[in-house]
């Protein structure tokens, strides 16, 4: 339903753009006549300057692009099963997708954020939220793989997430939908006053990135939309935009758009942390999964946690305040100095910028304009730093170049608008093709943005690419922002629907990138170190094959004595220790996927043969000149036969 409103507004937006800015869009087309191609050209063999991590939205993945070329480098499965890498199909990674609702092999992945040290990107991890079945995942950038997923209890629609504080002390998971806490059977119409919105603070271990829910702040039943950490002077605070402060439970497009102003919730997490460290908060029964992938065992484990610490904001005076912000704000962005908090009212034409200093002064002066559920509301005028009168429609998200400029995406009028912090004057505007959602400047959520490019993530592509039926590719656009005027350089297709992105200078990440897994460090329960460990073992109806692979054979490549009704576990170790030499394996009739095994790694798949016969398996990744010969056979006998287990290579 919301979509309908958007499209109506969009039509209106287009009309306005075409009428109002006709002259301008003509002149901006001139930008394309310049050397845009040269600026995005990365010669064969050369590397891009930046990594860009674009969320896949409904694909549940995170895709990695090089900038400025827009070349796709990798798709990292996060909340999705991925047959390409056996992620979520092999025995090792299945536990990663475990939740309190069971195995959930899909999620809606929205907002990636890169870990920071002292407010600067350190390139160690990317955190990203799963919206639908609330989860936070951590991707380790030494391997570009998801290594941890924690489920968020008492939440629904984990949207204002996953953003990190300036030393990666916390990653947050704010609920979009408020729900009964604890969940219970109750009339929906009694939402108001009864539902709760949990803002979850997950602590991150500074050494290994290990996540743990430190506390959940149980807020009034609004919708918490997006969030950003304070930094610099506002480090210690976290800001969350809200909508539906009306607490409507039906026809929200109308009923949640009645209030002229919603809130930005300002949370002093340091204060709450102190309160919690001193024994504050209430332990509440819960049930949520914590899944950790261990790089030495190459295996994930899923643990169900049974408790969560809940904090009532009214019990920590001075920790939470509401900043009135027009109008159903979406983006919630803090500039690199930490002074300005920008609320992007998606139903408004203007941007509202709050001042951190003014907020502190208002709090100290106790200048409140009432309260909501015991939480003080500050006076709009007292915290307002300024407003950007943009003339655009539907501001969504603001990023910064570190030079005192801000860039805001306007969904409805489909453009990026550049403006100056402090003077609030619009400097430049460029159209997007079409309907930009979020945008990204590498390092945008840090004290030191790399202010060279902005990437716009567009919701609609229409005529920009060759048509591919009703579903056309999603698209990103790259603008050069190094000059006074922005310049459109490049369109590139994206995977899924990118909701948000994070970018970082390539040099920070690529030095840390692993080339292989050390075989000697392989502690997989069923891993082997050399061909002398190769064997097949029967345990009742379970058969365990300890197999090795190296250019260009499997060991063993002949197995006999398997019977119909057996459950055959292939534990396959790649004995290679050379960069970029994975091997794959699959067998006819396998009900999951192939395995794609990196050098030094062990992976397992289960095969349950249903018919007698001699069934081939083979390498699925072109590994060497003799790749095609990398194959073998398994003989399957009837269930009642008494053929002994036998395995061999080269006999």
């Amino acid at each position: 339903m919301k979509k309908c409103t958007y499209s109506l507004l969009m039509l209106l937006g287009f009309a306005l753009t075409f009428m109002g800015c006709g002259e301008q869009s003509k002149s901006s087309n001139g930008a394309l006549t310049s050397n845009a191609a040269e600026k995005v050209y990365v010669a064969p063999g050369e590397h891009d300057e930046f990594y860009a991590f674009l969320s896949g939205g409904f694909s549940g993945q995170l895709s990695v692009y090089g900038l400025p070329s827009g070349r796709l480098l990798k798709i990292i499965p996060v909340f999705s099963q991925d047959a390409e890498k056996a992620w979520g199909y092999n025995e090792e990674t299945k536990p990663m997708l475990n939740t309190s609702h069971g195995f959930v092999p899909w999620d809606d992945a929205h907002h990636p954020d890169i870990s920071q040290t002292n407010g600067e990107l350190d390139g160690r991890w990317v955190f990203i939220n799963g919206n639908n079945t609330p989860r936070i995942a951590k991707i380790d950038l030494s391997v570009f793989e998801t290594t941890e997923i924690i489920e968020i209890p008492n939440s629904a629609g984990n949207h204002s997430s996953a953003f990190v504080t300036e030393n990666t002390e916390y990653v947050v998971a704010g609920t979009r939908f408020s729900v009964p806490v604890p969940q219970r059977d109750m009339p929906i119409a009694e939402y108001k006053g009864n539902f709760k919105g949990a803002l979850t603070f997950i602590s991150v271990d500074p050494e290994d990135g290990g996540m743990d829910i430190k506390f959940q702040l149980m807020m009034p039943g609004f919708d918490y939309d997006l969030s950003h950490p304070g930094r610099g002077k506002s480090h210690g605070w976290f800001f969350f935009t809200t909508y539906n402060t009306e607490e409507a439970s039906s026809l929200l497009e109308v009923n949640a758009s009645q209030n002229d102003k919603d809130f930005i919730a300002a949370v002093n997490w340091k204060k709450i942390e102190e309160y919690v460290n001193n024994g504050g908060g209430t332990k509440m029964p819960a049930n949520y999964a914590h899944n950790v992938y261990d790089e030495e065992t190459h295996t994930a484990t899923s643990t169900m946690k049974k408790e969560v610490l809940v904090v009532n904001p009214t019990e920590v005076p001075g920790a939470v305040f509401f900043l009135p912000t027009p109008k159903s704000p979406h983006g919630c962005d803090v500039d690199p100095t930490g002074q300005y908090i920008i609320g992007n009212g998606k139903l408004s034409a203007d941007l509202t910028v709050h001042s951190f200093d003014k907020m502190i002064a208002a709090i100290e002066g106790k200048k409140f304009d009432g309260e909501a559920y015991g939480i003080p509301i500050l006076k709009f005028e007292d915290v307002l730093a300024g407003q950007v009168k943009s003339g655009g429609l539907g501001p969504l998200h603001t990023e910064f170049d570190g030079e005192g400029n801000a860039y805001t995406s306007f969904f409805i009028s489909s453009e990026v608008v550049k403006w100056k912090l402090g003077t609030w004057e619009v400097v430049d505007r460029q159209p997007c093709y079409y309907s930009v959602g979020h945008l990204m400047i590498p390092g945008g959520n840090s004290r030191k943005p790399f202010g060279k490019y902005v990437v716009a993530m567009n919701k609609i592509t229409k005529d920009r690419y060759l048509p591919t039926g009703p579903e056309v590719t999603q698209s990103a656009q790259l603008y050069d922002i190094s000059g006074e005027k922005m310049e459109l350089l490049l369109d590139f297709p994206t995977v899924g629907e990118p909701h948000y992105a994070a970018g970082i200078a390539a040099d920070i990440v690529k030095e840390r990138s692993k080339k292989i897994f050390e075989l000697k460090d392989n502690k997989h329960k069923y891993g082997i170190q050399s061909d002398s460990d190769v064997r097949v073992e029967r345990n009742g109806k379970e058969v365990h094959v300890y197999m090795s692979m190296i250019r260009s054979h499997f060991n063993p490549d002949n197995i006999e004595g398997i019977k119909v009704g057996d459950k055959v576990y292939f534990h396959v170790t790649n004995l290679e220790q050379d960069y970029d030499v994975p091997h794959g394996i699959s067998i006819i009739g396998a009900n999951t996927s192939e395995l794609l095994i990196m050098p030094g790694q062990t992976e397992t798949f289960v095969w349950e043969p249903k018919q007698p016969g001699v069934w081939p398996f083979y390498c699925t990744d072109f590994c060497s000149a003799l790749h095609q010969e990398m194959q073998g056979y398994v003989r399957v006998s009837p269930a009642n036969s008494n053929i002994d287990l036998k395995w061999s290579l080269g006999e």
Partner: protein, 200 residues
């Protein structure tokens, strides 16, 4: 102490650096190896230039039927003993202080090193020519004979898709300087003797 004797002591000691630095390096370059594969040869061991290089050289070479580079060869036991003995002899000779013996030490070292190089050549030859008859890929020279894959003894050479380089390393330079100093010690010692004679 006389200059000649000091030089002789130095000559005798320098080859000991072979226990710290590699003697030789063989490098294999190919387009699909942006970081070339490499192997150091020490007085008592083979070593990877980068982690797992020897394993990966073996994996490449098995396609043409070459044997795996052994973990150790008998020379690794003999060479260190030889160097320790020649050093002790060198020190004894220095203690004796007779410059003629410096020359004998120098000649002995030349012979020992030459023997070592011949041994290295033979090892390389066998490594490159003793191929598994069931090799996956068989290549012949233009004259029809079976192609060998012997790395160059010294210098660079193309072998199929690889460019192989073979050059002495720091340890070998110390050995060479040590040997040369043996001769210098002899030469200086001879001069010293003459000066003593003329001045008396």
């Amino acid at each position: 102490m006389k200059k000649s004797r000091l030089t002789m002591v130095l000559a005798a000691l320098l080859p000991l650096f072979l226990f710290l630095f590699p003697l030789w390096k063989i490098t294999l370059e190919a387009p699909q190896y942006p970081t070339p594969l490499g192997m150091y040869i020490y007085i008592n061991d083979f070593a990877d230039a980068n982690p797992h290089d020897i394993k990966n050289i073996n994996l490449m070479n098995h396609y043409v039927g070459m044997k795996y580079i052994p973990d150790a060869i008998p020379e690794f036991k003999i060479f260190p003993i030889v160097i320790i003995i020649t050093t002790i002899i060198g020190l004894v000779v220095a203690a004796k202080g007779n410059h003629k013996w410096y020359l004998y030490w120098f000649i002995m070292m030349l012979l020992v090193s030459t023997a070592g190089l011949i041994d290295f050549y033979i090892w390389e030859y066998e490594y490159g020519h003793d191929l598994d008859p069931r090799a996956i890929m068989k290549f012949t020279n233009p004259d029809g004979s079976v192609m060998g894959f012997q790395p160059p003894f010294f210098g660079s050479k193309d072998i199929l898709n690889f460019r192989a380089h073979s050059y002495p390393q720091l340890g070998a330079y110390f050995l060479a300087i040590g040997i040369a100093l043996g001769y210098v010690a002899y030469y200086v010692g001879k001069k010293e003797k003459q000066t003593v004679k003329t001045s008396s």
